[in-house]
């Protein structure tokens, strides 16, 4: 049976040339980049070249790139780093109720420890956060605002640029000493959205390679020059002392390769253009192709009675579909899909182990009868129209079967 992978927001399959690059680097450039000998200098060159290219991709300076082990570490570094470097006695942090747990739980923990005050902004029922709500939440002791770019569950696009500009405006009044810093977890945005840090007006930005066909275990945090943050890992002083530890040379090279390939896809091979501050990348063929397939899938699955889309239908990542079926449970749907060779994920309580449905669906007001029956299908560059057709063909039987078993009437 040919299997269909529609869980690209969980992780993506590394490109063959990424894998090859890593094998090559691992064996040939094995030395410690901090070593003075020629072996070490060769490895250093690999890391430096990657850093320069990441800076090109994010439209920033090479010195503003901090390589990390991935999204969670970058989020932790940004949030704890700002809080610990802050001169405010009890800094205030603003975030949203729909953040990834790497952001949300970091802030919740700091709050519980009594180290910060926190505000969790509730999004509109379509999953989009209002800039005015973020502005209204700013207080005298606010040190950081952390809002995600693309929601990992429902794919909604948050107004990062607008919030960034708002914060700059607010900072003009507050003055340099009392600045509010802005972090965005852009982990789900890298492939289909504008990533220029100047365009986005952010101080910190998180990405991780495995979301765009790179390796797991490597990511980065963009740290705007002059932003005071405290390191979280101490040791040999690597990454300008922001993050100690011998560099993951092969991983970094793998991420470099993945971004090169991504930019080719993203902007039809026009590398320089990909970097420019375009408001939308939807003019390019790959983004259009993915969106067309997603829309077909969405339309096909909505043919099933008592189904609905979660999150905004338009302000949404082109590869994300989050759909609920009433009177069918998400995990059961997933397992039946899996038996049919289709991989997806779910926001139902049963998949989390917590007995609570997804915090994202709850925050946007999705009731239990709908949230328990939610599934997420996320497309990727290898997704084909035949695969989408297969899912549209398979799903009605699964939902029907589960509904026949349910004690509730439709």
């Amino acid at each position: 049976m040919k299997r269909i992978y529609l869980d690209n927001s969980a992780t993506t399959k590394p490109d063959q040339d990424v894998v090859k690059t890593m094998e090559h680097i691992n064996s040939k450039y094995f030395a410690n980049p901090s070593s003075v000998h020629s072996f070490g200098q060769d490895a250093r060159k690999i890391v430096d070249e990657a850093r320069d290219f990441m800076a090109f991709y994010l439209n920033c300076d090479s010195s503003e790139i901090v390589f990390t082990s991935g999204g969670s570490e970058s989020d932790n570094l940004a949030i704890k780093g700002i809080v610990e470097a802050s001169k405010i006695e009890k800094p205030h942090v603003i975030t949203s109720q729909i953040e990834h747990h790497a952001v949300l739980d970091t802030i919740v923990e700091l709050e519980r420890e009594g180290r910060i005050e926190a505000t969790y902004i509730k999004p509109k029922s379509n999953g989009v956060i209002k800039v005015e709500d973020a502005e209204a939440a700013i207080k005298e002791n606010t040190a950081l605002v952390s809002i995600m770019y693309i929601n990992n569950e429902i794919g909604t696009v948050e107004p990062i640029r607008e919030i960034g500009k708002m914060i700059e405006r607010v900072n003009k009044k507050r003055g340099e000493k009392n600045k509010v810093f802005f972090h965005t977890d852009a982990v789900q945005a890298a492939e289909y959205f504008q990533m220029g840090t100047k365009y986005l007006h952010v101080d910190f930005l998180t990405i991780t390679a495995h979301k765009f066909y790179g390796p797991k275990g490597v990511g980065l945090l963009f740290v705007k020059k002059g932003t005071p943050i405290k390191h979280q890992i101490v040791g040999g002083g690597q990454e300008s002392k922001f993050r100690a530890g011998t560099e993951n040379v092969a991983g970094i090279a793998g991420m470099h390769r993945a971004v090169v390939d991504m930019l080719k896809r993203k902007a039809d091979g026009k590398m320089e253009e990909a970097k420019k501050s375009l408001p939308s990348l939807q003019v390019y063929s790959e983004t259009k192709r993915i969106k067309k397939l997603r829309d077909k899938l969405s339309k096909g699955l909505l043919e099933i009675s008592n189904s609905r889309i979660n999150g905004c239908k338009t302000r949404r990542s082109p590869n994300n579909l989050n759909i609920s079926f009433k009177n069918a449970e998400g995990e059961s749907i997933l397992m039946m899909l899996d038996q049919a060779g289709i991989a997806a994920s779910s926001g139902s309580a049963c998949t989390s182990g917590s007995l609570e449905p997804s915090h994202v669906l709850t925050a946007i007001g999705v009731t239990h009868e709908w949230s328990h029956g939610s599934i997420r299908l996320t497309l990727g560059k290898d997704t084909t129209e035949e695969e989408i057709d297969k899912v549209i063909e398979t799903m009605p039987g699964i939902i029907e079967r589960l509904r026949t078993m349910s004690p509730l009437k439709n």
Partner: protein, 123 residues
């Protein structure tokens, strides 16, 4: 999280799914908040469960636990069926993952409720 072979088997081929229109006893447990709802129907003759059916809305573990419970209860006397415990169901399924243990609690509760319902009606 990984399911045992038995759980997968009972999820893929659940036994005794459906309703009994003229059931002698019906047990209902669970709620929409937690996401699992179970209904059990029993037919009783000479103090024995001669037929049993279930309907469940829930995860694979909930469906498998319901199915296993009906297997264990079928043909048993009411007193014996009443004694079916969460651990009987859990063990027969080759153990549910820890966070799914509540599914065996639910299904053990469902059969007790159905028997209670039958006995109340008999009075």
């Amino acid at each position: 999280m990984k399911y045992s072979k038995e759980v997968i088997n009972h999820f893929e081929n659940p036994r005794n799914v459906g309703e009994i229109k003229d059931a002698d006893g019906i047990g209902e447990v669970g709620n929409l908040r937690c996401g699992d709802m179970m209904q059990v129907f029993i037919k009783v003759k000479d103090d024995k469960i001669v037929d049993i059916k279930f309907k469940t809305l829930g995860c694979a573990a909930a469906i498998a636990a319901s199915s296993m419970m009906t297997e264990l209860a079928k043909g048993k006397t009411l007193d014996d069926a009443y004694k079916i415990s969460r651990d009987d169901i859990n063990n027969s399924l080759g153990k549910l993952p820890a966070q799914k243990y509540h599914c065996s609690i639910l299904s053990a509760g469902a059969i007790k409720k159905a028997i209670d319902d039958y006995r109340t009606k008999q009075k």
